[in-house]
Symmetry: C2
Subunit: 643 residues, 2 copies
Amino acid sequence: MFKVTFQFESGEVVETFATSGENLLEVARKTNVAIDAPCSGNASCGKCRVKLMGGELDSKKTRHISEEEYEQGWRLACVSTIEADVTVMVPDIASAYRSRMKVADLSSQDEVAIFEKTKAGIEEAGIALHNSLRTISITMDIPTLDDTMPDNERLVRALKKATGAERVQLPYTVMCKLPDVLRASDFTVQCVLRTAANGHIFVYDVYEKDADVVIGGLAIDIGTTTVSGLIINMETGEIIGKASSGNGQIRYGADVINRIIESLKPGGKERLQNAVIQETINPMIEQMCRANGFDPKHIYRMCVAGNTTMNHLFAGINADPLRMEPYIPAFFKTNAFYASDLGININPDAHLIIAPNIGSYVGGDITAGTLVSMIWNKPEFSLFIDLGTNGELVFGNSDFLMSCACSAGPAFEGGDISCGMRATDGAIEACVIDRDTMEPTFEIIGESDEKPIGLCGSGIIDVISELYRCGIINPKGKFVREGKRIRHDKYGMGSYVLAFQEDAASVKDIEITEVDIDNFIRAKGAIFSAIRTMLSSLDFDISMVEEVYVAGGIGSGINMENAVNIGMLPDIPLDKFHYIGNSSLSGAYAMLLSTEAEKKTYEVASNMTYLELSAVPTYMDEFVASCFIPHTDNSMFPSVTLK
Amino acid sequence: MFKVTFQFESGEVVETFATSGENLLEVARKTNVAIDAPCSGNASCGKCRVKLMGGELDSKKTRHISEEEYEQGWRLACVSTIEADVTVMVPDIASAYRSRMKVADLSSQDEVAIFEKTKAGIEEAGIALHNSLRTISITMDIPTLDDTMPDNERLVRALKKATGAERVQLPYTVMCKLPDVLRASDFTVQCVLRTAANGHIFVYDVYEKDADVVIGGLAIDIGTTTVSGLIINMETGEIIGKASSGNGQIRYGADVINRIIESLKPGGKERLQNAVIQETINPMIEQMCRANGFDPKHIYRMCVAGNTTMNHLFAGINADPLRMEPYIPAFFKTNAFYASDLGININPDAHLIIAPNIGSYVGGDITAGTLVSMIWNKPEFSLFIDLGTNGELVFGNSDFLMSCACSAGPAFEGGDISCGMRATDGAIEACVIDRDTMEPTFEIIGESDEKPIGLCGSGIIDVISELYRCGIINPKGKFVREGKRIRHDKYGMGSYVLAFQEDAASVKDIEITEVDIDNFIRAKGAIFSAIRTMLSSLDFDISMVEEVYVAGGIGSGINMENAVNIGMLPDIPLDKFHYIGNSSLSGAYAMLLSTEAEKKTYEVASNMTYLELSAVPTYMDEFVASCFIPHTDNSMFPSVTLK
């Protein structure tokens, strides 16, 4: 056994032991040391950099570590094996997702406004904001020697009388507390009920007569990268608590395919399920409840929205068929899950609603998002875009809806970008470049005096748009101007330095290279070509798009004009773009609060057709044509060409 | 902290630590050292004797330990507190229930015959031996790129087509294995189904097409003293496995009242529930399954029969209202419990049927037992007696049924008897005394060369009957002959020595005292006076009883003639008595196997009236009159008087 020591920039130290030949990234995972590995340890993303500080480590050389960096001690954890005692430094950027994940500030007015808007939009569409849960006060006869009916029959009889229900079900949890609550409260109690479609009643809980009863509900958006949640009052829709956290599965890979592969290893399904439930959702519930003095057992219903892989891994169900032809999910929708089945720390009988999938690559995050985009209720031809690790699109109006999905890759979230990082503290999220001096001005997430660590998705859009506007790069993303911030390596590869190391909180200069720009161009090209291909398949032209709704956590800092400028979004009037925030979460909120909204989501999902882009012969050509700034066919971007 | 050492006669040693002032019995409980304490540590039963071997122990003196015994080191654990390091010896008799509990030999021909008889009797009554579970083989279309229906919808569609059901429910456990089983088995699978009364289908399990599917069911009789169980094949009724074990709750008290009191202490409900489920039922399930190569997850239904207190404590539900006026149970019947709710290690979705209670003192053991006694289906006026710690009676025929319960106390099980013990190895279970020599001949449970340890219930009946027949005791139970086996203590209290210490495996002579006889007379008097009182309340005379069915584990060795001789059972022709074994277990078996039998039990229960004996003014007089051998009114026992 060898001693392995992890040092953090914060000064924190974690020690563990490992046997000869163990993989350093695996050792970190077992020790709960967060080292970001978007590619799940395949040496392809280059994010799991650590620095050898002492001892020995047997590490392969990779293209991600230069000779000079290797000399300095930089190694990729995923290709390093333990052969002796070793001490490594884990830089902030490698552990960013966990320690520095920017939590969506749901208490801000913007966010509250989004949920208010969601409610208003749904009501406008004629959908009642009403669900099947309610509280009722019940008074029973006090038992005597002449009236010896047992407690459960006594309550059931009284509930039948009060509600007219034919059948009343008391689950085990209620039976367990019933004798005590009845006697503590003189046989007058409050019950939390669910009335089923057939009129039968299920009793979730029983409270003493004077208790302050709030029926809690839990909405969760399971993003591949970020999990967000709300606790709401099921009777009023009021938001009781909010939280957001990195998805604990990140350490098993940044994208769904890597996570599926990880889940196929022995114990993998359980590890991935634990990562999202025990390590992510349950702590979020605890945090929200503690902060708001709410008992998690008073949460009686839960709605989850996530992509198809996320909801399979969340449920601990084999997701492998999702990635293998013919791409069959275990479920589109299911009413089979209860909180106790999955070990979610709320009322064990709480029913779990899952926003419906419509296929392997269009899941509940999109159906829930489509619901709250309201495009299904409008005559205008509208485009709904959810920008995540996967890009999903829905186009249509009140008459039809078509969806498709494209793999944008991790570039929007800073993956595959040399100085890329997720949208956390220290990330450059917006940028302007002076055309003459080529000097950048940028906005950094976090405290005002923070130095930049790297570049997140919205920052990359701005930088590329600005580099192009200033004539620093050409439509192919190659550097065509020179200056103190422009560099070329020995192979002639250009790069632009956003911040020199002395001005950065990074271990090296923060720069964007031609390879980065190329990676990003392919990501934006995937989105734009998907838009084009789907519209063409319907004989639509881009100019016929009347409204665009952009959703996704990644989109929060997005500059729509710059996104158009680089050819990522269609060139239509800017006032047609609407940022609708985390529509997966607001969709889950709507489905939780309103039974009709839940039904409407199923209806929207079942009416949505799915276009498999890879089956469209022209898609690849569209993609190649989109891999320019803004596009090979400039006529598609008239406003950009005018600038 | 002081060191506490428990030594066993077997040579085994258990060591633990305790703080000053801790109660020795509590220390033993925490350490899982089984010391029998039928009175739950109230110093009233005198069963928790241990012998001080070294160190110090602060023990109160009690009437149960003579001066001489105290000198020898004998102490009651329940009145001993730790004040220093101490070593005590735990005699076999004190730990008898756990280490030496005789397990009912269910594999014997007698026992199999009882279940065959149960089945036959039920079928004769026109009740179908059929339940709602079955296996079905289903072949689905194999998915293609043109047929991308998800797994759950595919199976549901196929099941609807095959069964005509309107609704099919797949629970979480099935969803979890579905993708794997479908693909491993080319979309032809076997399903275990339950068809509800409304035609809806619940899928318990899904197996590969070639699997050997056996639908398991579990019948459990939770006796206050002994728990018995069967695993059966739900489609054939065949018995797959059998087991029996002491109820782990015994260490919290021998009778229901002491257990309820124990359950009211902090954490008490959980402790008592754990004792019967985690420590008793789950190990029995494991044992039965291991011995028969059966997977416990293939048990999809369970039926429990037990008295009202037992099924409340089993469910972890407050049983205190059962012992307090107006004596209201939490439930008579309930369909609210599933295996996963109670932590029973079978299929988590297995539904738990509970034989219905009809009141606080007549529970599911009696309703299930009444079912299989078949007295509800006969024109003859029949009496069903379940002899346990509580004695319960049901009288009637196909037109009416009346029940009552009396507290017989622990005497039938060897409690309150100085050399009494439960019916385990080493117990004298039958006895004949020579009228001239007064020498006894007896049968001992266990190996043929075993020396006696004590006296169990059936043995006590025989001894008292023989002592009376031989004129050694008078109708009041006082000794009236002298001899080498007859002794009197300094207060003149007589006793009869069954085995001198040198012929016994006991630490002292095995004898029966006038106090023992008196205790037993009160127990048999409780039963007989209950019979009389219930019959009188219906204007029936004992001679009108046409059949008597005696049930209960305690009854297995019972000599009916001797039981009549001492005035415990009514003096009717001996061929009218039928021993029907553990009718609670065979009733649970019937309810499990047959949905109609289950319904019939509810019907029998709801038609059964209950007589509260304590509310009958003449009951106390009847009881007093019954506390003689055979009775103060000898005319009730004409055959006995003739002997």
